[in-house]
């Protein structure tokens, strides 16, 4: 490929413009003086002020964070167990059903997951009186269920890629199988557990559809609050909220990228040093 792929570069420029122009426009209009969200009326930060003085937003954010923390943590434990099961336990009764149950939620439309859980919770409340009121608990249970399968996928693929000889070595040295799992496998897959946790956390924080079904009176997560406001049209304080979220995510991603590249550089330097001292 000596020629510059002009066509590909043109499409890429268009594609990235397509990705980022709406976001940039949203950021610019968050500093708009005018109440009419689409007409420019001068620079102002008043929407940020109104956002910070809004109690509802704070409460919704706090609820969302609580649900995301709890559900991501439990989902990581359950998802890791399921991933280990798929990768290491080749034969057990009901394996086909099990692998079906960890794949199906990935492709199940959210609306169907939502109504199935709502019907389930409603019937359960009728039969055994629990859950008495839908809210934090039911949203958390729903989020655990549909985010654990993403953790499973991450853990499973990491375990199929990992070098099994270290597990065999530990086995040869007399470790019991569960000790191998605890002392060898778990440390090796810990990066997958971390990325699985992050994935589950963001999925939970971002969910609207399933939450909207299984929530109850008084339990409004941040996406549900945004959903109820956005349904009525474009409002400037949502622009301000979006800008803050984009800024926060941007900072986190850049920070993570920088930390990762630093770790990589350090690893390479240590490698070189090791070669030099050994050679």
């Amino acid at each position: 490929m000596t020629r510059r792929p002009v066509f590909l570069i043109t499409v890429m420029c268009f594609g990235f413009a397509f990705f980022y122009i709406p976001i940039l426009s949203m950021i610019v209009y968050s500093f708009n003086e005018s109440r009419l969200a689409t007409v420019w009326g001068g620079f102002s930060t008043k929407w940020y002020v109104s956002l910070f003085s809004n109690r509802q937003v704070g409460a919704a954010l706090w609820l969302s964070l609580k649900i995301a923390l709890v559900s991501a943590s439990i989902a990581t434990i359950l998802g890791a167990m399921a991933g280990i099961t798929l990768a290491r336990f080749r034969k057990f009764r009901g394996r086909t059903l099990f692998s079906g149950m960890v794949t199906a939620p990935l492709i199940m439309p959210e609306v169907i997951t939502g109504i199935s859980l709502l019907i389930f919770f409603t019937l359960l409340a009728n039969w055994i009186g629990w859950p008495g009121q839908r809210g934090f608990t039911t949203i958390t249970l729903a989020h655990i269920t549909f985010s654990m399968v993403f953790v499973t996928t991450v853990v499973h693929s990491r375990m199929t890629q990992m070098d099994r000889s270290i597990e065999e070595a530990a086995m040869d040295l007399g470790s019991r199988p569960w000790q191998v799992l605890r002392d060898v496998t778990l440390p090796v897959i810990s990066p997958a557990l971390l990325s699985g946790w992050l994935l589950a956390f963001t999925i939970s924080l971002d969910d609207v559809v399933i939450s909207s079904f299984v929530t109850g009176p008084g339990a409004t997560t941040l996406p549900l609050l945004i959903w109820s406001k956005v349904k009525l049209g474009v409002t400037p304080d949502i622009n301000a909220l979006a800008t803050l979220i984009v800024a926060l995510v941007g900072i986190c991603v850049i920070l993570a990228g920088w930390l990762m590249s630093r770790a990589e550089r350090r690893r390479l330097a240590e490698q070189r040093l090791a070669y030099r001292t050994n050679g």
Partner: protein, 307 residues
């Protein structure tokens, strides 16, 4: 206590690791799902919860499934959903394929930055990405007036417009679907294209193929698994989408997601909502099987590549 410890050492740890997620998924995924399937053949009653079996009603009521084929509301919803999802998938492919191919051609440092830029919108809120387009498509927005000016410049005077009606149309739904699902197309395609051996391209070039012929005869056939994977990752969620059509879609031609949600919450016809849900799932089975087959193929091919 000792017996418990020895049980744990022998097989208990294994049974727990299998059993706990098994039990969880059975309770919170399989049973709710089976309830929906059973609900789809129940009869709607004015009781609470609003359904029943037997009594003066038939034990298994397939009336709902009949309504799917006779009432225009449902037929139209299915056609609209599948059409919108298919068109969005095609546009994602048309835009995503060159982008993924371009990503494999740029230098390594650029590639990491651009990949991050593809993934970054994922981490911001889905809802806010839809919302960003609501701001752009509105009647008085700079984007709409820019397009209107361009339109008025091109067309004869008789067709000039004050603004382009974009909001609350199927066009808006497709546009926003392409916007939000494009990364799902780019990432599997990129993963697929990146694994291809550039030696094959060079060989074809040496044998006298032009760049387009290389693409058509060498690159494209090898990227079919990536196209299928990306296509399914866009098509399946797009067909069942609820948020996008509710916010920017045409309320008079609802998609299936909206129908399910309305039947359930507004009409309070749980059996009919379940029937529509089951029908949607049945429609999704075909594409999913196709996807799973190619996925398996791709995985086994990947395993062979490794030394």
């Amino acid at each position: 206590m000792k017996a418990l410890a020895s049980w744990f050492h022998r097989r208990g740890w294994r049974e727990l690791i299998i059993g706990i997620p098994y039990l969880w998924l059975t309770l919170f995924f399989l049973i709710p799902f089976l309830i929906v399937v059973a609900m789809s053949v129940a009869t709607r009653t004015p009781t609470a919860p609003p359904f029943g079996y037997g009594g003066e009603n038939p034990i298994l009521n397939f009336e709902g499934y009949g309504r799917l084929f006779t009432e225009t509301l449902y037929i139209r919803a299915f056609v609209t959903s599948l059409m919108n999802a298919a068109i969005a998938t095609l546009f994602c492919l048309a835009l995503g394929y060159p982008m993924a191919l371009g990503l494999t051609r740029v230098s390594k440092s650029w590639r990491n930055i651009l990949l991050m830029l593809v993934i970054l919108p994922f981490w911001t809120s889905f809802l806010l990405r839809v919302y960003a387009w609501m701001g752009l498509m509105g009647r008085n927005s700079w984007f709409n007036s820019m397009l209107t000016d361009a339109w008025n410049f091109v067309v004869p005077q008789a067709y000039t417009l004050n603004s382009i009606p974009m909001m609350n149309t199927n066009f808006a739904v497709i546009l926003v679907m392409v916007y939000t699902y494009l990364p799902f197309m780019i990432l599997p395609l990129y993963a697929n294209l990146e694994r291809l051996d550039p030696v094959l391209d060079e060989a074809a070039m040496d044998l006298g193929s032009r760049p387009f012929q290389v693409f058509r005869d060498v690159t494209l056939p090898q990227s079919i698994p990536g196209i299928i994977a990306g296509g399914m990752l866009v098509f399946i969620p797009a067909a069942g989408e609820l948020v996008i059509p509710s916010l920017v879609g045409n309320p008079s031609s609802p998609m299936i997601g909206r129908i399910i949600s309305d039947e359930f919450a507004q009409v309070r016809d749980w059996p009919m909502a379940s029937t529509v849900a089951v029908a949607l799932l049945i429609l999704m089975v075909g594409p999913t099987m196709l996807y799973a087959r190619y996925q398996q193929k791709a995985e086994s091919a990947g395993a062979e590549d490794k030394p």
